[in-house]
């Protein structure tokens, strides 16, 4: 078993990276690997509650994050500074996450076998 980490750095809409990252995560979950998801920089916006995409005519994929534990993907990490810089707290997020400092995040990244950034 290998440790796969998916690093999400982009806002949920505006580019396709967040959505296509989620598609890889769902596939990786079926391979019985150790999967972690990390949200840093604008990636923290992917987890914000109450997303409404009606005005932009793009599918709201945020509900999928809530379904991740059904795929045994339970390791979700958010970087503290990224969240604070955007005026967000854990209460604003739609799933339970572990909040890490950037040093803790770096240590976690160093443990991984495969790190894919989106």
């Amino acid at each position: 078993m290998k440790k796969f980490m998916f690093v999400n750095r982009k806002a949920p809409y505006g580019t396709i990276y967040a959505l296509e990252s989620l598609e890889v995560v769902l596939i990786a979950a079926t391979f019985d690997q150790d999967v972690s998801l990390v949200f840093v920089d604008d990636g923290v916006y992917e987890l914000v509650k109450g997303q409404d995409t009606q005005g932009i005519g793009i599918k709201n994929h945020s509900k999928t994050y809530r379904a991740l534990d059904g795929y045994d993907v339970e390791k979700l990490y958010v970087e503290r500074d990224s969240m604070a810089a955007r005026g967000l707290t854990e209460d604003d997020l739609l799933v339970d996450v572990k909040v890490l400092s950037s040093a803790e995040m770096a240590a976690l990244m160093a443990e991984q076998d495969v790190v894919l950034g989106f």
Partner: protein, 119 residues
């Protein structure tokens, strides 16, 4: 060492594809193996045989095809990403194949290092 590469951007607009190719060629020249290059996001545009750059420019698509022909590098285009961008079997350049995201995860499992070339 056994490498897997992920290319996340299209050709010409971004340098990612050029750098990935140069990395692959250099690794092979040093005796390493590049087991697979996986094309995702706009990276799937690296695979279309309709590409016709000006004659004095590099031909990014043909360069990949040649890497497959000469060194057997597996060139895999993500099916979901490809279909949403109009890349289908009928426009694939020689040496590319369309398959699922499982091929990316599989490459991550089998390779010693997975290297991403994106933005």
């Amino acid at each position: 060492m056994k490498f897997a590469l992920l290319v996340s951007e299209g050709p010409y607009t971004h340098q990612a594809s050029d750098t990935a190719y140069q990395f692959a060629a250099a690794a092979i020249a040093k005796g390493h193996e590049v087991m697979r290059v996986f094309f995702y996001h706009d990276g799937v545009y690296n695979a279309t045989r309709l590409t016709e750059p000006p004659q004095d420019d590099r031909h990014i698509v043909n360069r990949w095809s040649k890497l497959k022909e000469e060194h057997g590098v597996d060139l895999v285009v993500c099916v979901a990403a490809a279909l949403r961008r109009g890349i289908k079997d009928e426009v694939l350049a020689p040496g590319f194949r369309i398959s699922g995201l499982g091929q990316l995860v599989d490459a991550g499992i089998k390779a010693d290092r997975t290297v991403t070339f994106g933005d």
